[in-house]
């Protein structure tokens, strides 16, 4: 896929020339004076101004003198440079050259400080505080207010505006950055300014705390210490922290983050500034969920099972035991989760082929299908050309089986921005109009789970505006319905729209490119092509690669249970995420030998014969390939020699296997070596394999008349194991509810409405269990019920039913 001829980026033909502090500068039309001044190296102090928020002109800190507005006349009074666009011939004098501007700024700064507590020594913001810094650069040293006996306004110390966010009203300078961010960027106007005069304050509605998925950004852009997180408050001082840039590992968006750490421990994470990806925003999950690698069940040393019990072992012993066990167990397979770096995924792909001599490798630790594997090989591997900027420029963005606010938060923010600018119409094929879809001003094309293929086919009609300029985003959940991915590919082919696949996990796309699939070799090489196999075998220095297309995750589980497979290498798979957790557990029990590479104890380590601890994100370098095909590499935050990345461990096992006469060594030991090898191998330059939808699965028995089809997805903040250890973050999660349409609600509960705080309860029962949750009404199609996938117990897959299957709904006692 090549980049189509995009509209050229804004060409700087509309330049406006003005003079700032005697320096002539040309900037694009509509540039604000405050930013034009930055071009000549003048930093005008500011609080309310933020380049990604609408101008407000509230704090008045950025006043400048305009002796000539470009029309020969000046402004009689100093002007706020954050709201004033440049004009041809304009003359601007900032504090650097104008006494009027300087006095105005000093005056405003003095006013700002009269009601500020000046508690910098105990304030988290102290040391990185715009108020502190600008008070030093543009303020007076002594307070005339205090000298004249002034009395400050005081408020009780911090109040919780959510479980995570705390507000110190005394410190607030009322710049309205937080409220504008929440309203404009996140679309969650849960905070607003209330009261007036000096008693004005940020406030929440009593029944609705500031539970936005993006609340942490408000904390980060607060120019004073008024907003702090329960997570970080009083934990460290900014000048004690070391910052390392990183990439968020919670979704496939590749958001830039900044990891702040002190003495080998991560203290907090902030949004990085990456205009092409996340701009300056990240979700609360990307920001606050990082202690999962610091919790008690972290595995810190290799273990081997002896007499039914795990015991500590040295690395060398563990490698040898693993190698012997795998050799003796007979045919082996590899299952990896979607959390791996591209380098680690490559190592697993190579380990399977070279050391285990099989193509039985699959990264999809979730419901998946053969159709999806074919789709990934034909439409996803090596694809690119759709970028975040394209989402903003496209007239129509179609979401298929993707709920961006929950599953790809950075995409959500971009689409909301695009919709707010009025350029982009979002169209979503989903069971109901979610809050996220409302915030993107999106249009719902309702689909009962299982009917997505037909609904997608209908999108080609002109009314939806899917043209060649449109972008189609395909979520991983679409694999759950046979024919849906084929329909999506077909829609793109028929309309000329560009298509991109958006998985939920950070490592999924990298695993596709690295060949951690039964039908793909690294670099998008189709396994079925003999020349591709020869290509890779030559690069790897082995005779040949196994030619038979391997088993996918489902087939591996079935084969283990049947005894066709004996050995299993499992990495980062939570059994409860798999299509059938009970079957997965049974397969583990049936397996002859299980090697587990894990960060923390899981359902896999419980039965594993060898448990090998892997390095957490902070201890290794790596690359995540984002949904748009961008390689986002990052360095290790800490140097921890005892912490080995997956690829080093696999190489150790492969060495031992080779010594036992099976397979060959992997030929690398470090991330750098893997990167070089991947680079040298390069992408497949042959024809893309054709997409094959495969056979439709057997249709189960028709659902009973009074049953419901189960729709589900994972919410951004839920019980996912990578949010373990984050009590404050978890407390801001949305309350799990069962969603029914109005007719279903009334048929279950009659006309009885719940009361605030006491919603009606419903019990949903499927073939794997049942759950009782409060009920909310949504615009679902008839006969469909929605529950969040991982917000209760062990989740929908383990404890309710398979998505798309039929369940019953009954009213429950309060």
């Amino acid at each position: 896929m090549t980049t189509t001829d995009k509209a050229p980026d804004t060409v700087d033909t509309d330049l406006v020339t003005l003079t700032i502090d005697g320096v002539q500068v040309s900037v694009p039309k509509d540039t604000l004076v405050i930013r034009a001044a930055e071009q000549v190296g003048v930093q005008i102090p500011r609080f309310c101004d933020h380049p990604l928020l609408d101008p407000v002109g509230a704090c008045r800190q950025c006043l400048v003198d305009i002796p000539d507005a470009g029309n020969g006349r000046g402004f009689p009074k100093p002007q706020a440079s954050c709201t004033l666009p440049v004009a041809e011939g304009m003359v601007v004098n900032t504090q650097a050259t104008s006494e009027v501007a300087d006095k105005a700024q000093q005056g405003v700064m003095e006013f700002l400080l009269i009601n500020h507590p000046l508690d910098c020594p105990v304030c988290d913001k102290g040391g990185e505080c715009p108020l502190q810094n600008q008070a030093m650069s543009n303020g007076r040293g002594e307070s005339r207010f205090a000298e004249s006996g002034g009395v400050k306004r005081t408020f009780p110390k911090p109040i919780n505006i959510s479980a995570q966010v705390l507000l110190d009203r005394e410190r607030c300078v009322l710049c309205a950055r937080c409220t504008r961010f929440s309203e404009q960027v996140a679309g969650d106007p849960f905070i607003a300014l209330a009261e007036r005069g000096a008693l004005q304050q940020v406030a929440i509605y009593e029944r609705e705390p500031f539970e936005s998925y993006f609340s942490g950004n408000a904390i980060q852009i607060c120019p004073v210490g008024a907003l702090t997180s329960a997570d970080y408050r009083f934990r460290s001082r900014p000048f004690d922290l070391v910052s390392t840039p990183g990439v968020a590992e919670h979704d496939a968006c590749g958001a830039a983050i900044r990891i702040d750490h002190r003495r080998g421990k991560v203290m907090r994470r902030l949004a990085g500034n990456e205009p092409e990806i996340n701009e300056e925003w990240i979700s609360d999950k990307d920001r606050f969920a990082f202690r999962y690698s610091q919790v008690d069940d972290r595995i810190t040393y290799p273990q081997v099972r002896e007499d039914g019990e795990l015991r500590p072992a040295s690395w060398t012993e563990a490698f040898a035991v693993a190698a012997r066990g795998l050799r003796d167990a007979g045919a082996g397979a590899v299952l990896t989760g979607g959390r791996l770096t591209a380098e680690d995924a490559y190592a697993y792909a190579k380990f399977a082929r070279v050391a285990l001599q099989t193509n039985d490798v699959d990264f999809r630790a979730r419901p998946h299908s053969a159709e999806e594997a074919s789709f990934l090989a034909s439409h996803v591997a090596l694809s690119g050309g759709v970028t975040y900027a394209d989402l903003e420029a496209a007239p129509v963005v179609v979401l298929l089986g993707l709920e961006p606010e929950d599953e790809a938060a950075t995409i959500f923010l971009r689409l909301r921005k695009a919709a707010r600018q009025g350029r982009t119409q979002v169209v979503s094929v989903a069971p109901w109009t979610s809050r996220g879809l409302q915030k993107m001003k999106g249009r719902l094309v309702p689909a009962v789970p299982g009917t997505e293929a037909e609904v997608i086919a209908s999108l080609a009609d002109a009314e939806h505006g899917v043209s060649k300029d449109a972008v189609i985003l395909v979520g991983e959940r679409l694999a759950g319905t046979h024919g849906a991915l084929s329909a999506a590919a077909d829609l793109a082919a028929r309309t000329g729209a560009r298509l991109a696949w958006v998985p939920r996990r950070a490592g999924d796309r990298g695993a596709v490119e690295a060949g951690a699939l039964p039908n793909l070799l690294p670099g998008g090489r189709p396994l079925a092509e003999a020349s591709a196999r020869v290509d890779v075998a030559a690069a790897w220095g082995v005779e040949s690669l196994p030619a038979k297309v391997g088993r996918d995750g489902n087939a591996i589980v079935a084969a283990l249970a049947k005894g066709d497979l004996g050995g299993l290498v499992v990495a980062g798979v939570d059994p409860d995420d798999t299509a059938d957790p009970a079957a997965f557990r049974a397969a583990l029990d049936a397996a002859g030998f299980v090697v587990s590479l894990e960060l923390r104890a899981t359902g896999v380590t419980r039965v594993a014969d060898v448990v090998l601890p892997v390095a957490p994100m902070t201890d290794k370098a790596g690359t995540f390939v984002t949904w748009d095909g961008r390689a986002r590499d990052f360095d290790a935050v800490f140097t921890n020699p005892a912490s080995l990345p997956d690829l080093r461990i696999l190489s150790g096992i492969a060495d031992e296997l080779a010594a036992l006469g099976q397979g060959a060594p992997l030929g690398f030991r470090t991330v750098g070596e893997v990167r070089a090898e991947m680079q040298a191998l390069g992408p497949w330059d042959g024809a893309r394999p054709a997409h094959d939808a495969g056979k439709a699965p057997r249709v189960g028995k028709a659902p009973k008349a009074d049953s419901f089809t189960l729709a589900t997805w994972k919410q951004l903040i839920d019980l996912g194991s990578m949010q373990d250890g984050e009590v404050h973050l978890r407390a801001t999660a949305r309350t799990p509810v069962v969603r029914l349409n109005r007719a279903a609600y009334e048929s279950v509960f009659g006309m009885l409405e719940g009361e605030p705080g006491r919603d009606q309860l419903a019990t949903v029962t499927g073939d794997r269990g049942s759950v009782t949750l409060p009920v909310a009404v949504a615009d679902l199609p008839d006969g469909v019920v929605w529950v969040p996938a991982r917000s209760f117990g062990r989740g929908v897959l383990a404890e309710l039913a398979s998505p798309g299957s039929s369940v019953t709904v009954k009213g429950a006692q309060q």
């Binding site: 008045r60 006043l63 009074k77 100093p78 105005a104 005056g107 003095e110 006996g149």
Partner: protein
């Protein structure tokens, strides 16, 4: 002497039940409507332009010109919004007008809306004046029933709906963009301009916002002609206006006279200052216009002359204070008002009024030093022209003008160790004060 008065708006105030439709029509009310409907809307605008009517809400912007700014090619609906949020200390002209003759305003609204081609108009009334709101609502109801409002008014084919909206009690909502925010259901805080309301005002549509008195003057202009109106007043300040006299004057009240009348003449009309006392200081147009003194008694009360005297004509709210009044105390009271009413949006007004009040309060108690006067003036300098809207500017006017004219009185507080005045003596109900 009373021939100086030109009762037009106030003419029918003494009629029996003047606020009823019957009484208003008996006095020739709603006659201007048919005259206006016989004219093209642009001709109505031109008539108002030619009359020289300038905004009566304080700023004095030419009303006809404001109407001309409405982009008629904009496909969005146009709106007329009447600013009836009269809240300035001392200002008391719109409230009595709407109380005594609400139909004058309603008739003005219909003609003005017709001129700017608005089919919906709003009157944003200060929420505290509940009796006025009731009279307005009743007047609007009567006008609907009589066919002056609604569909096809007087068979002209012109439709107009008029909505009376009660504010929630905030001085800032008299600022036109804050008023629009309030009307849209948001917190009353001024909006960033541009876009100006004429382009994107109420619901982002072209909007004219006029003061009650401006709109109420329109029927008389249509009835009597632009030349009649322009024949009154001074060269650049045409027409008549309501002058509200309050404070230490024998007969406080509303006096309608051509612009350019002097305070000396008005005090004479009002029976002089209260007996045995003389004028000490006064505001020409409400508390946010700088104070003037007896030396300004002969300044013609029009936009230009009052401006030249260092103040502003404002809303012609003449608050008169005699020699029993402590200027520091009066200024402190006003400043406390501004502190209470500051909306909080911008720093200089929000924090500045907080600080000014404290400094002034200490000075009134005789604490502090002469340097505090310079501190006050410097604070005022840091607020004036630095705040988001004019409320901040207004808050500084009484302080800087009082220090300019009465510096010695401030100092007397310091040397006296407190206020040297008998406050009881200044109350209007106690002519001889506490010494009696």
């Amino acid at each position: 002497m009373t021939d100086m008065l030109t009762p037009v708006l106030t003419d029918n105030w003494d009629a029996e039940r003047a606020w009823t439709l019957a009484s208003y029509e008996e006095h020739g009310g709603y006659a201007a409507l048919d005259k206006a409907f016989a004219m093209a809307p642009d001709d109505v605008i031109n008539a108002v332009k030619e009359s020289g009517l300038r905004g009566r809400g304080g700023a004095g912007f030419p009303t006809g010109m404001k109407w001309g700014f409405i982009p008629q090619d904009n496909p969005k609906p146009k709106y007329l919004v009447v600013n009836a949020d009269e809240s300035e200390p001392g200002t008391c002209k719109d409230t009595p007008l709407m109380l005594a003759s609400p139909h004058t305003l309603v008739e003005g609204v219909i003609i003005s809306s017709y001129a700017i081609r608005a089919n919906t108009a709003f009157i944003y009334v200060r929420g505290e004046i509940i009796h006025v709101i009731r009279r307005l609502q009743r007047a609007v109801q009567e006008a609907y029933l009589a066919g002056h409002l609604g569909k096809n008014i007087h068979g002209s084919g012109y439709d107009l709906d008029l909505i009376v909206h009660a504010g929630a009690g905030a001085y800032i909502c008299g600022e036109e963009t804050a008023l629009l925010e309030g009307l849209e259901g948001r917190r009353g805080q001024p909006r960033l301009r541009p876009p100006f309301p004429a382009v994107a005002g109420l619901y982002a549509s072209p909007t004219v916002i006029n003061n009650v008195e401006s709109i109420a003057s329109v029927p008389s202009i249509i009835n009597h002609g632009a030349a009649w109106f322009a024949g009154m007043g001074t060269e650049k300040s045409n027409g008549y206006g309501i002058f509200s006299l309050s404070g230490h004057v024998t007969k406080p009240g509303q006096y309608e006279a051509p612009l350019g009348i002097t305070l000396r003449e008005l005090i004479d009309l009002a029976g002089g200052m209260r007996e045995g006392h003389e004028l000490k200081f006064w505001t020409p147009g409400g508390s946010s216009t700088p104070l003037l003194t007896p030396e300004h008694l002969d300044v013609p009360l029009d936009f230009e002359s009052v401006g030249a005297a260092g103040s502003m004509l404002g809303t012609r709210a003449l608050q008169l204070f005699d020699e029993t009044t402590c200027v520091v105390r009066a200024v402190l009271r006003w400043t406390e008002f501004y502190k209470h009413e500051s909306c909080g949006k911008c720093t200089p007004c929000r924090e500045g009024t907080w600080w000014l009040t404290q400094t002034l309060a200490r000075l009134e108690k005789g604490q502090g030093s002469e340097a505090d006067l310079d501190l006050l003036l410097d604070q005022c300098d840091n607020i004036l022209g630095r705040s988001f809207c004019a409320l901040g500017d207004g808050a500084t006017s009484p302080i800087s003008s009082s220090i300019q004219h009465f510096r010695d009185e401030y100092l007397a507080h310091l040397s006296h160790g407190g206020c040297p005045f008998d406050h009881a003596a200044s109350t209007v109900f106690s002519p001889v004060g506490a010494d009696a």
